[in-house]
């Protein structure tokens, strides 16, 4: 899977405005334990960014900070240039951020259709929602077949598609993905990454947290590597792939597993 398989127009809009999301020297504490140390990170419109790092490196805390679940004790979080300091999670969501959570977190006892409706919870444009739903069904035909089935009856791969479709139905400008490859078979992981690439090529910026570094870097524009709460490497995907420290710590042997 290479980067330019899918016709790609996103670079026209790249870097032309202020970042969609920007973290500036953010410190995060859980109680008295500091988990993020002066993190700075930015995602521009249309970019596909990956956030790499091992367990407890602060990847999930970074996503929680963007979502307004964790509030920085120092530093700022800017969403479209606006400080999110006082915003609740749902306010952040209403400003165009959407998430495919770790372990998918679909609503198990709601139908596929109802799950998708929940994704469009903040929207009122019925006709447009219907169209978007059709698009989701075109992207994931299996969901159309299963539309009246309960979420819990879906397979892991189908649930991942549902979580993705649900997240897209809010028409996000920034899609957060927490460990999209977790718990999926290798074939499904390939499929998953193709879909992420496709969604991104249609103009949605993606910030993806991933353990599978080589896989993530193969489709990303840029990447950040976190280690015990600090950004230790950042750069273009090509730079990261060729970075000796990356090679050793995260891409070792080239099989892509940490």
């Amino acid at each position: 899977m290479t980067k330019h398989q899918i016709p790609n127009t996103k670079y026209q809009t790249l870097n032309t405005s202020h970042p969609l999301i920007e973290l500036i020297n953010v410190d995060i504490f859980y109680g008295s334990m500091q988990v993020l140390f002066s993190i700075s990170l930015r995602v521009f419109q249309g970019e596909l960014i990956c956030l790499l790092g091992g367990n407890a490196s602060g990847k999930s805390s970074t996503l929680k900070t963007i979502l307004g679940i964790c509030k920085p004790s120092k530093g700022r979080v800017l969403l479209n240039g606006q400080d999110t300091g006082k915003l609740k999670t749902r306010d952040v969501i209403s400003k165009g951020v959407s998430i495919v959570p770790e372990n998918r977190r679909i609503f198990p006892h709601m139908t596929v259709l109802e799950n998708l409706e929940m994704g469009a919870y903040l929207r009122n444009d019925r006709e447009e929602i219907r169209k978007d739903m059709e698009n989701i069904f075109d992207l994931f035909p299996i969901l159309r077949e299963r539309s009246l089935k309960q979420g819990i009856t879906l397979s892991g791969g189908e649930q991942q598609m549902l979580a993705m479709g649900r997240a897209l139905l809010s028409r996000p400008s920034l899609l957060l993905m927490d460990e999209p490859s977790m718990g999926l078979s290798p074939r499904l992981v390939d499929q998953q990454f193709e879909i992420i690439q496709k969604v991104n090529s249609m103009g949605t910026a993606v910030l993806m947290v991933e353990q599978n570094a080589s896989m993530a870097l193969s489709i990303a524009d840029r990447g950040y590597v976190l280690q015990t709460g600090s950004v230790v490497i950042e750069g273009n995907a090509e730079e990261l792939i060729n970075d000796p420290m990356m090679q050793e710590a995260y891409l070792g042997g080239g099989d892509g597993d940490v």
């Binding site: 979502l67 999670t89 969501i93 959407s98 959570p101 006892h109 929940m118 649900r166 809010s170």
Partner: protein
């Protein structure tokens, strides 16, 4: 055996009356458990306050020279006012006693709920006294329609009214939960509160709504029973709360359909038990069922087996 069969239609009506009431109470337990994983032991007191509020509304109608209203309108207005007041009370309880404890160990919430229960009981005792409050509603329902006979079986009008109202409310609630935006948001919140927040759902508002609806239905049960037995006192909430809780567990706590089913089944079982055993054993039957369910099927009849939420 003959006597039992002869009484069967009547016991069925009695069972459905009780069942409808238990179901209304159980729904409140289950809805709250669904979103907060807590047992709201103050729920029985909301039921009791529903009875008292109803008494005062009817008292107002009969003493304040309100322009003449048809009896059905008086009863409708009374029930609606009671539901509104109890719904607001539910919201208040959540805001004052539970929300500050969100995220605290569940034992703290449980203790807080017991505290609210004791507080409300004693508040009503202080304000209203320990004497039974009697409903003087003979003028509302004339003697001639209070009972009627079909095929040799005598039916009580009030009981049929209670059945109609409680089952009607359950139908409306089922529709709201299944079809409306707020109902879907409630289900989503109950299934995964964090994921619901990721959808942009204001979960605090949903929790408020859950307390409002659950308490309004509990209050409605309180006024319906008070109308049926034409009395209420400050202590009725305890017993009713236990029965509602039993019904909720029987159906599968957290599951609204289960609460309805559990309530109806519990009511029917009690009524049929009364036709076999002395009526003093009614509660023995109810709580025996609770114990058996807890031992063999703790997730209830329609609830599902779930690992303990972390």
């Amino acid at each position: 055996m003959d006597i039992i069969l002869q009484e069967l239609p009547q016991q069925l009506v009695n069972g459905l009356t009780l069942g409808g009431i238990y179901a209304l109470i159980a729904i409140g337990y289950s809805m709250v458990y669904g979103v907060l994983s807590m047992l709201n032991f103050a729920h029985g007191e909301v039921y009791m306050i529903g009875g008292f509020t109803g008494w005062w509304v009817l008292h107002y109608f009969s003493t304040q020279n309100v322009p003449f209203m048809h009896a059905s309108l008086v009863i409708t207005v009374t029930i609606l006012v009671v539901m509104l007041c109890c719904g607001m009370l539910g919201i208040l309880i959540e805001r004052v006693a539970y929300r500050p404890l969100r995220g605290a160990p569940r034992m703290n919430l449980l203790l807080s709920a017991l505290g609210v229960s004791i507080f409300l009981q004693n508040l009503v005792l202080t304000l209203q006294g320990a004497k039974v409050k009697v409903f003087h509603i003979s003028h509302l329902i004339p003697e001639s329609v209070r009972t009627f006979e079909i095929g040799g079986v005598v039916f009580s009008f009030m009981r049929l009214l209670v059945i109609a109202i409680s089952f009607g409310m359950m139908l409306i609630l089922s529709y709201v939960i299944k079809q409306t935006r707020a109902g879907k948001a409630m289900r989503a919140t109950a299934q995964d509160i964090e994921a619901a927040e990721f959808m942009g759902i204001d979960v605090d508002r949903i929790v408020m709504l859950v307390f409002f609806v659950g308490s309004a239905l509990g209050g409605a049960a309180g006024i319906l029973v008070s109308l049926l037995f034409t009395q209420v006192d400050y202590y009725v909430g305890f017993q009713a709360g236990l029965k509602g809780f039993t019904a909720a567990v029987l159906g599968g706590i957290g599951n609204i359909k289960g609460a309805m089913l559990g309530g109806i089944l519990l009511g029917l079982t009690e009524a049929l038990a009364v036709s076999v055993f002395p009526s003093a054993y009614k509660d023995v039957v109810a709580f025996t069922i609770l114990i058996i369910v807890l031992i063999f099927r703790p997730w209830g009849l329609v609830g599902e087996k779930l690992p303990e939420k972390v």
